[in-house]
């Protein structure tokens, strides 16, 4: 009789532990997925921003010097993206590499080229340039959103992965610890108005 009771208790405890582990694993999996999705969104918006900048540079709405500077910064950012296509499972060795710096450079180039007068002029003669500028703005806003949402997701992942049960039972598997992406994504103030 006693053995039966003890066995039942042991089974119940084991089931409880199993449920708790599986619950935490599912939670972590969901968080990893969220971080992956957010990173892929950020990646896509960055590509869009570079492409829109190239379009703006080639639209003829800017002076050639500004156009060349923008085209340079945008194509470098695009090239870096194409060299390192994100793996299927983004968390395998997820890293932005040197791209943070390149994206900051593009932000700085946009900031330098798009002063209030230039933006006003582009918007006044409503042609290709104005359209491209609109696209730069839209992509720029979405880069800001995507980066913030990504970093939020990473913060959540890292917090859960610090939990003792996650570390002890290696619930994260071999997924790398995601890192926040830090670069300057400020839009030129004149563009945002």
């Amino acid at each position: 009789m006693q053995t039966v009771t003890w066995t039942a208790v042991a089974v119940a405890v084991l089931l409880g532990i199993a449920w708790y582990l599986s619950y935490n694993a599912a939670r972590l999996d969901r968080l990893h997925t969220r971080a992956e999705g957010a990173l892929s969104a950020l990646d896509a918006q960055l590509v869009r921003r570079s492409e829109a900048t190239l379009e703006l540079a080639n639209s003829g709405a800017l002076d050639p010097a500004s156009a060349l500077m923008l085209a340079g910064a945008a194509s470098e950012a695009l090239e870096a993206h194409n060299e390192r296509v994100l793996e299927e499972d983004f968390l395998e060795g997820q890293s932005f590499g040197q791209r943070e710096e390149l994206e900051s450079d593009l932000t700085a180039a946009l900031m330098a080229a798009l002063s209030a007068e230039v933006v006003g002029e582009i918007r006044r003669d409503d042609n290709l340039g104005a359209l491209a500028l609109q696209r730069v703005e839209a992509a720029g806003v979405r880069v800001q959103l995507a980066r913030r949402f990504h970093n939020d997701a990473v913060t959540d992942v890292r917090r859960v992965r610090r939990k003792a049960v996650v570390r002890l039972f290696r619930l994260a598997g071999h997924a790398d610890l995601p890192r926040t992406v830090e670069f300057d994504d400020e839009l030129p103030p004149a563009v945002r108005d």
């Binding site: 968080l31 806003v141 913030r148 949402f149």
Partner: protein, 400 residues
């Protein structure tokens, strides 16, 4: 895009969050999106077509006051059915940390979730006690929005992480197109001032305005003060200095149309609020209607008025400073004209057209991520992926 919006507060009573949800949904519907709102409401409350009632809310004591909340298995099942039927691309939950359908929706949500935080007062004993329980649900939020810097600070301190600030929207044209009412329009000898808000709620600041008025009346004896808002008029009148009471007209509760007309008629709108305002939508309404604004220097007001460029500001709870600002404005028609112009321009920033576009950018950002991982997941779809394994994993993944 198919948008599901959850509003935890009952549509039976008017309120800031309810109006926000209504305007947002109507804006997206007008743009050709599909939008459905889930909210509590009494059975006999007439609801717009796009609002689905989750049943009537139960008054319960929560967080120090009586709140009308929805909970329990029946409500949870209704929320689940609405989610299933809606097949939303994005679920937008307002005030997710209320023990109501907001939390229930978050609990059963599986797709991308956007949450908007309206309050600048999240800290509650209940929340702290239930925090470990809430955490996994809150982790489902893909994009957080705060309606003001104060609301954002609350999110960062109490939940960690960050939120993007997208302010409340105002239907600028509704106020800009209002016809001034001659009865409320000021003249050189008898300028008019407007006050809006509960007259017996000291935080709305009527006592501060009352204390500033004797000095104003001394220089402009014809000044009329138009007070619009609910409350006990007789009691309020008794608290006033006799000269001030003679200059004050109580209009009681007024309709939205009258509010717009009032704001477009007066020589100044006074916002002497002493605290508790996280955004100040009424300031934007006044600016839209073209009323020069005189407001206390609450952080939220300073931001709406762009650091005082688009309105006159006075030291909070300082009647002498308020009187100084009022006298400066009443004696300077050119300055009033300038504030009208600056205000109308500033109000555009808060127009629904602009605000809704920012919200749509958030929707697009969070849904983009999901489409991508869904593709990846589908490519890797495991043949052993059964209902049972999905249940174990937390019911997420490949049901579409």
């Amino acid at each position: 895009m198919r948008i599901g919006i959850v509003c935890p507060y009952s549509f039976d009573v008017p309120g800031g969050v309810q109006f926000h949800v209504r305007d947002l949904a109507e804006h997206f519907l007008a743009q050709g999106h599909h939008a459905s709102v889930l909210a509590p409401a009494d059975e006999d409350t007439p609801l717009p077509e796009y609002v689905e009632s989750v049943g009537r809310a139960v008054p319960v004591r929560y967080n120090g006051s009586v709140a009308r909340l929805n909970f329990g298995p029946v409500t949870a099942a209704r929320v689940g059915r609405w989610l299933e039927r809606g097949e939303f691309d994005v679920l937008h939950i307002h005030e997710p940390v209320t023990p109501s359908i907001a939390l229930l929706a978050l609990w059963s949500a599986e797709g991308p979730v956007v949450a908007t935080f309206h309050t600048s007062n999240l800290r509650s004993r209940a929340m702290q006690a239930a925090y470990p329980l809430l955490r996994p649900s809150l982790e489902k939020i893909n994009g957080r929005i705060a309606v003001s810097e104060d609301a954002r600070r609350t999110v960062t301190t109490h939940l960690g992480g960050d939120a993007v600030v997208i302010p409340n929207g105002v239907n600028v044209s509704r106020f800009a197109d209002a016809t001034p009412n001659p009865a409320w329009t000021g003249t050189e000898q008898a300028p008019t001032l407007a006050f809006l808000g509960r007259i017996d709620e000291p935080r709305k600041g009527l006592p501060v305005l009352a204390a500033a008025l004797p000095a104003v009346l001394a220089e402009h004896p014809g000044t009329r003060v138009l007070v619009a808002g609910p409350g006990d008029v007789e009691a309020a009148r008794e608290r006033l200095d006799p000269a001030v009471a003679a200059a004050t007209e109580f209009l009681g509760m007024i309709s939205d149309e009258d509010k717009a007309a009032l704001l477009s008629s007066v020589d100044a709108y006074v916002a002497p609020h002493t605290g508790g305002e996280s955004f100040g939508i009424v300031l934007v309404e006044a600016m839209s209607a073209g009323a020069p604004v005189v407001a206390s220097d609450l952080a939220a007001f300073v931001r709406v008025l762009d650091g005082g460029r688009c309105g006159a500001m006075f030291a909070n709870e300082d009647p002498a400073d308020l009187a100084r600002q009022l006298l400066r404005l009443l004696g300077d028609p050119a300055e009033r004209e300038r504030l009208r112009d600056e205000g109308s321009r500033r109000a555009q920033v808060f127009d629904w057209a602009v605000v809704a576009e920012d919200v749509m950018a958030v929707y697009e950002t969070v849904t983009h991520g999901v489409d991508d991982w869904r593709e990846v997941r589908d490519d890797r779809a495991d043949p052993a992926d059964t209902r049972w394994t999905r249940l174990l994993r937390g019911r997420r993944g490949t049901e579409d």
